[in-house]
């Protein structure tokens, strides 16, 4: 029983991390048809910025996380304005540009701080454990889940209650028609990039807490699973991404626990995610939801 609880909490923590990456990815793809391969690198930017602020900058944990989030958001906005925007008429070049940034940013981080994992300072209050139904669960799992829930709630409020949220929901359905109502949809593009970058870099900063360290390829590794989540949840659907994230995180953890010798430590977990994706796409070709919110 205690193992099940621990695996479930760890799976939920991982799912929360996937959601933080996937929510922005899904909105960006749903609204703009942009497959942002640089999205994982934004997570790494957030992670390193937070790590730098917490070590060299001597900031407290939460201030460091906030700093990482701000830097990642700024990087995302910059990416949209400088690289993505001039290429809207050339979607293929746009994808290549994001792939390029997705490769260049981790390389840059590696060039500056090396390829080894850097230990992420753990605040005392968050590095302990709690007893839950007989299991000893690290507190950082709950921090991630709480952050993901907060982001989910804020995103839903944004989409449901604000004019820009309305524009984003409409744009996911029919972008051209939004402009034909006199709306400059490019502003919504920049905003969605800012939101996606904020969520991903927050995820990056908290990934430092979850994994205990940061390394340059963390973001890219998580991006693969975020793509799986986006496809499963239905592009443009924030709630779909949340449900799919939880599913992927849990399946991965439980499959890893049951890992067969010879497949490698993470082999079965990753394999099971692919199987889950294949089964879902066979049953529901358009993902869990065909729609947003």
């Amino acid at each position: 029983m205690s193992t099940v609880v621990l695996l479930a909490c760890t799976g939920l923590g991982l799912g929360a991390l996937y959601f933080l990456v996937a929510s922005g990815l899904s909105l960006v793809f749903g609204l703009m048809d942009v497959l942002n391969f640089a999205h994982g690198a934004l997570l790494s930017v957030g992670a390193y910025a937070a790590w730098w602020a917490a070590t060299d900058g001597h900031l407290g944990f939460w201030l460091a996380v906030a700093f990482g989030t701000v830097v990642g958001t700024a990087a995302s906005v910059l990416l949209e304005l400088v690289l993505i925007r001039p290429l809207y008429a050339r979607p293929r070049d746009q994808i290549l540009a994001t792939v390029g940034v997705g490769l260049a940013l981790p390389a840059l981080l590696m060039g500056i701080w090396g390829s080894d994992a850097r230990p992420f300072p753990q605040p005392a209050a968050l590095s302990g454990t709690v007893d839950l139904l007989g299991a000893t669960v690290p507190v950082n799992r709950f921090v991630l889940v709480a952050a993901a829930l907060a982001v989910l709630l804020l995103l839903r409020l944004f989409l449901a209650r604000t004019r820009y949220g309305l524009i984003v929901r409409a744009g996911v359905e029919d972008r051209a028609m939004v402009t034909a109502l006199g709306i400059d949809v490019r502003r919504a593009f920049t905003l969605v990039f800012a939101i996606g970058g904020a969520a991903a870099s927050l995820g990056g900063a908290l990934a430092g807490l979850y994994f205990g360290s940061v390394n340059p390829s963390q973001g890219t590794g998580l991006l693969v699973f975020a793509f799986v989540v986006v496809v499963m949840g239905g592009t443009g659907s924030v709630t779909g991404a949340a449900v799919a994230s939880v599913g992927v995180g849990l399946v991965q953890q439980f499959a890893n626990y049951a890992a067969v010798p010879g497949l490698g430590a993470a082999g079965l977990g990753d394999l099971s995610v692919v199987v889950l994706l294949a089964v879902l796409l066979l049953v529901k070709p358009r993902g869990l939801t065909g729609r947003l919110a």
């Binding site: 004019r163 309305l166 524009i167 359905e173 029919d174 939004v178 402009t179 034909a180 006199g182």
Partner: protein
């Protein structure tokens, strides 16, 4: 005196020459009809005016060149657009569809709900669950919410039941009393009823411009340009 003039409009999409020299003058009052057989280029012409497809030529609105403007700025010059497929956001409610179209500080909801009381009753309903006629009402309502200087409606009666066609025609006729309308339409009875002038497209070119009533009264010209006999057309009926 034309409100909108189109000169030598050309549109190439994916290497296909779709329009090669469309000329169009939209009168500053009343309804101007844009006619032509299926595939003549009516929708493409309207999309080119809206900046929704790449185009060359000269498009002038109220004396200003709008040929190079992005779509949202064309609209902000005061052009309301109800597209061929209605362009209603299926997952948004009726109220949200209307709210999205608001540009003026005081949108004309009184007028819209007077013309379409149904939209008021159904304002929380997802637009995707409306009937075709109701969706068309949403599309037209969005153009009337703001103080537009031109309304462009692309086949607003396509696929609607005769009773609804009459209703939509009444609304367009009423709207045209205060704002000029460019109406793409294949229902010639409706054109005869509400249009003043017309332009006829054929194979991506303007084949004729003139008085709508005179064209439809001339059976030979109508058959030659539109490929239809006009004497069977009845109000509300579909003459395609």
């Amino acid at each position: 005196m034309s409100l909108l003039t189109v000169r030598d409009l050309r549109v190439v999409i994916d290497g296909l020459h779709i329009l090669h020299g469309v000329e169009l003058d939209v009168a500053a009052t009343g309804v101007t009809a844009l006619l032509g057989r299926n595939g003549a280029g009516k929708t493409t012409t309207v999309k080119a005016v809206m900046g929704l497809v790449p185009r060359t030529g000269a498009i002038t609105f109220d004396g200003a060149d709008i040929t190079g403007l992005p779509t949202h700025r064309v609209v902000r010059r005061g052009i309301g657009y109800a597209p061929e497929d209605r362009g209603v956001f299926a997952h948004l409610s009726v109220a949200e569809n209307l709210r999205l179209a608001e540009r003026d500080p005081n949108p004309a909801y009184d007028l819209v709900f007077e013309l379409f009381p149904e939209l008021k009753q159904r304002h929380r309903q997802p637009a995707g669950t409306l009937s075709g006629g109701q969706q068309q009402m949403v599309a037209i309502a969005r153009t009337l919410l703001n103080g537009n200087r031109l309304v462009i409606a692309d086949e607003p009666t396509k696929g609607l039941a005769p009773k609804i066609v009459t209703e939509v025609a009444d609304v367009l006729a009423r709207a045209a009393a205060s704002v000029p309308v460019l109406l793409v339409e294949q229902n010639l009875a409706l054109v005869r009823r509400i249009a003043g002038r017309c332009a006829v497209l054929a194979d991506g070119r303007t084949a004729h411009q003139g008085d709508a009533g005179a064209l439809l009264a001339d059976a030979d010209a109508a058959r030659r340009l539109l490929g239809v006999g006009t004497h069977h057309a009845t109000p509300g009926g579909d003459s395609r």
